[in-house]
Amino acid sequence: MTYETLTDAETRDLRALAGLMIPASATHGVPGADDDLIFPDILRSLERDTADAKTALQQLVTLSGGAFSDLTAERRGEVAARFKQEGGAPLFALNRVVLLCYYRDDRVMRSLGQEPRSPFPKGHVVEQGDWSLLDPVRTRPPMWRRV
């Protein structure tokens, strides 16, 4: 399946928006969503959400009165706050792609104590637990209705 690509102007606006959604944090030692590795992943991953992304970015241009990426930081914040309120389903789809690329970045995963790897084949350890916790339930009489 082939999908449309974003124009250069849309790409610039999306990068500015992504960096505003999830900025880099020195406190947590993590990049922002506009990072040189993460942002290209976002562009590649739009796929079936491309149409929604374009709709959302067009709305962003309308709210900005021009290119969002050309606005001052203060003005970007104001426009983004309104966009978050009014963006609806297209913005949610766009936000979803930003999140799904951001939270699979190795640096971000490590900062949250996660191993950057696929679940298979290593799997995970879940503690067996203490089934004596069930003892009060074991003593209950049958609860099901006899028919």
Binding site: R48, Y103, R104, P119, G123, W131, P136, R145
Partner: protein
């Protein structure tokens, strides 16, 4: 023209696989047509780093989003619940959670006990040996002694309790409410050639380990070794009938779109509660102008989902998150009718582990918890791996206006009319959901959770598709008889969830498969005494 077979099964999911396996010992010529492909273990998302992203792409649960060639579109109309499924060998068992409760004895007698809907023409005791056989073939893990059920043996020990389970268990004990490790169709030890669960995370996107009992790794290998033929990429358009009113076979399209006719002595439909009425309604002839087997006018009507009322909250310390099967505990505290609650029938509470990093972020954005800007990181770190979730899986009562019809415009890639869903929530269900949310909040409070919220009903939760070709003894009030044979077409059977009379309040796969084995057993017995087509 293909060689005629004795038995043509349409659909290779939960019920189609079970009936194929059971009939294999007759040595009849059995063929199953499946519109999808085999899914290889290496295809599953958990093989790759992009595993969570694929839940929104080629492994999305909603077929309209997934949009594979092998999927058909569904017009969900204004329904508050969207149909989710999978099309391929194993059907929706590929993507189910493998939560595997049985219906309870009372579920088969709702009219007698509670004065609503109808009693089933079969009961729990009749199905009990087929439940046991199904548990053995499937491989079910769990803990015997649940006071919410008649005693039944379980072949494997339960899934681990984990940190999340401990939180829930302590909260439920504080409230004095029932909870128990679920019957799960997941191997916890080596079982019938399958490796045990290694906790890849949620089971919904399919199991790369092969521990989850999807029917492509349970029934099908045995059925194929016993001589059953399974033909993939064969999408059935219609069941055909002869001048005597008996089914003669089916017309299907292959992967290249070429039309075929497959003749058969007997046709068994196993396409689920949406696919089955769609196929029957598309099978129009001079004899059956309103669709095959539809003299009652009930094909497609009485659609039942299980409306899910999901409630969640966040604890202070990290718990299991995405590690381990999502569902491994249940509560049946509110399952049986108590009229003082203001509704009849009841629900199961599923007690969930959390989600992966991405799904957690997306869900919490949707809930408005996760801000943009500098605060994003701090807030995310207070919610990641800290979620406790519960779903009340509510019994849905049959109502004729809830139904599947054929969409006049929407078609699949072969030009076959797509299903259209017309569905509204009943008043009894709404009260039940509200009760489930309220009790779930009490549990979360007992567990010390904060930021409690709910989604009721969950939109993308139309997993359980029931009632659209109901069984019964009265041909005017049902589509198939008490052993799954069409009242109208004596060599056509239906074995999937569409034959359910009522929905119960549990995940249906175990009971769907037990019913399929029961119908197969009836077919075999009646073949032996030559009464099958009487």
């Amino acid at each position: 023209m293909h060689e005629k077979v004795d038995v043509l099964i349409i659909g290779s999911g939960a019920s189609g696989a079970a009936v194929a396996w059971s009939l294999a010992d007759t040595k009849m010529r059995i063929l199953c047509l499946e519109q999808g492909d085999w899914v290889k273990p290496t295809d599953y998302p958990t093989n790759g780093r992009d595993w969570e992203a694929r839940l929104f792409g080629d492994f999305a649960i909603n077929p309209n989003r997934r949009a594979r060639e092998t999927d058909y579109p569904i017009n969900n109309g204004t329904s508050p619940i969207q149909v989710v499924n999978f099309n391929g060998v194993g059907g929706s068992t590929i993507m189910y959670t493998a939560h595997y409760p049985r219906l309870h004895p009372s579920d088969f007698r709702v009219k007698t006990l509670d004065g609503v809907a109808d009693d089933w023409p079969v009961d729990y005791a009749t199905l009990e040996p087929f439940f046991a056989e199904n548990d053995r073939v499937t491989g079910v893990a769990g803990l015997e002694g649940d006071p919410a059920y008649p005693h039944h043996a379980l072949p494997m020990p339960p899934l681990p309790l984990g940190k999340t389970g401990k939180c829930f268990g302590e909260a439920m004990n504080k409230l004095g409410w029932h909870w128990w490790p679920s019957d799960s169709a997941i191997a916890t030890t080596e079982y019938d050639g399958r490796a045990p669960c290694i906790n890849l995370g949620h089971c919904t996107p399919g199991c790369a380990q092969g521990a989850k009992a999807s029917t492509d790794v349970t029934y099908w290998p045995h059925a194929i070794r016993a001589g059953v033929q399974l033909r993939t990429r064969a999408r059935v358009r219609e069941i055909t009938v002869g001048p005597d009113g008996l089914a003669t076979g089916a017309i299907y399209y292959d992967a290249e779109g070429k039309e075929h006719f497959q003749p058969a002595e007997m046709v068994i439909v196993a396409c689920n509660g949406i696919g089955t009425p769609r196929l029957l309604l598309n099978s129009v002839s001079a004899r059956f102008p309103n669709g095959i087997g539809n003299s009652s006018g009930l094909v497609g009507r009485n659609l039942m989902f299980h409306p899910f009322a999901h409630t969640y909250g966040y604890v202070d310390e990290p718990i299991d998150g995405n590690t381990g099967a999502q569902l491994s505990l249940w509560s049946q505290e509110f399952y049986e009718t108590d009229r003082s609650r203001g509704f009849v029938r009841g629900y199961t509470l599923q007690l969930h582990r959390g989600a992966g990093m991405i799904v957690d972020a997306i869900a919490n954005t949707a809930r408005g918890f996760l801000p943009w800007g500098e605060a994003h990181h701090d807030v995310y770190r207070t919610i990641f791996n800290r979620k406790l979730g519960l779903s009340a899986i509510c019994e849905d009562l049959p109502e004729e206006h809830n139904r599947v019809t054929l969409d006049p415009v929407l078609k699949d890639s072969n030009g076959i009319p797509a299903p259209k869903i017309e569905y509204t929530l009943g008043e009894n269900t709404k009260k039940m959901m509200a009760h489930g949310v309220a009790r779930s909040k009490e549990i979360l409070e007992a567990a010390g959770a904060k930021n409690v919220g709910s989604d009721a009903p969950m939109l993308n939760a139309g997993w359980h598709l029931m009632g659209t070709a109901r069984m019964g003894t009265d041909p005017e009030r049902s589509v198939v008889n008490e052993w799954g044979r069409s009242h109208d077409v004596k060599n056509m059977f239906i074995v999937d969830g569409s034959i359910w009379v009522t929905s119960g309040g549990v995940n249906p796969t175990s009971t769907i498969q037990a019913l399929a084995l029961y119908i197969a057993d009836n077919i075999k017995r009646r073949l032996a005494d030559a009464t099958l087509f009487d």
